[in-house]
């Protein structure tokens, strides 16, 4: 007998539900990475005010502002798809899960544009 050790079958990712799930996992990993980086950045305060100010100076650069806009998008996707998953699981959302996905993405997109504008305009 032959057992394929493939962890997942990318050829099967063509439906809204599976993409929502995959993106939810990936955005979750990105948020874990961000939180670790965030804790490291805050920890530099233990090296005194100069060290902390230097790191903060780097983070004030336009590149990091743009990354912040991306982070805001990832947070919104993860949060709103998370709400969708809860609705699907506990409030009979599974019959309308595709519609729900696009509604959630739309709300997240509006908030992303609004928040992104605020971040960029304070650059």
């Amino acid at each position: 007998m032959y057992k394929d050790k493939k962890f997942f079958d990318l050829g099967y990712y063509k439906f809204t539900g599976s993409w929502a799930w995959m993106l939810h996992r990936l955005s979750g990993l990105a948020l874990i990475f961000y939180l670790s980086a965030h804790i490291w950045v805050i920890s530099t305060i233990s090296k005194g005010p100069e060290g902390f100010d230097r790191v903060m100076g780097v983070l004030a650069s336009p590149l990091f502002k743009l990354l912040e806009v991306g982070l805001w998008g990832i947070i919104l996707f993860h949060a709103f798809n998370g709400i969708r998953v809860v609705i699907v699981d506990f409030w009979k959302g599974s019959l309308h899960h595709k519609k729900l996905f696009f509604i959630m993405i739309f709300i997240a997109f509006l908030l992303w544009v609004a928040g992104g504008y605020l971040i960029v305009s304070h650059m």
Binding site: M1, Y2, K3, D4, K6, F7, F8, D9, G11, Y12, K14, F15, T16, G17, S18, A20, W21, V85, V88, D89, F90, K92, G93, S94, L95, H97
Partner: protein, 235 residues
Amino acid sequence: MSKEKRIIKILRYDPANDKKPHWVDYTGEFDSDSTILDVLNDIHWKTDGSLAYRRSCRSGICGSCAMKVNGQNILACETPIHKFKGKIKIEPLPGFAIIKDLVVDMDLFFEKLKKVKPYLVVDKPLPDKEFTQSPEEFEYIRESVTCILCGACTSSCPSLWGNEDYLGPAALLKAYRFIFDTRDDGANERMDIVNDKNGIWRCHTIFNCMEACPKDIKITEYLSRLKVKIVENSI
């Protein structure tokens, strides 16, 4: 009826000679409303008698011929080839071990089914005549009783690809079918079995099972109802 030339790619695996499955191309002329099973029969009877696949009723009720065609699990006997454009790629069900060609090992699938006690458990005295249900009571389980155990849903589930101990949608749907059956008394026992680390909580509502089900059973909806019942019971 028009005949058309189609290229059929089949993932072949012979345990006696092959280390890994490999693609073999077949070309043939088929009626546009032939089913995938007709195509496989044609190849098996006329071109290559060594091709192994499961089939029985050829009318979508035995659940033998589930396989993956052009990246989606379907029942070969009720899917016409005109649904697919271009080459037709036929593979065995993903997530299961391959015995030969399109024949997969379903032992684990049926073991999991047995785990959820897929039969009526009755403690109360049996009625003299019929064991009746009202139409409203039957409505809860009307769709879930139509499951033909083809394995298309369980095989399409990414949670199962990651962890083969996960019960999978078919077994969980069977649990739902009996837990929500008003004649049954084994609900608590079954809910304990399902409320396990390899049980219902590994369902991440990916919906591949619902897309794959050839009987259009709203599997994820029923698993969600089961989740709600388990949470309500444990409060």
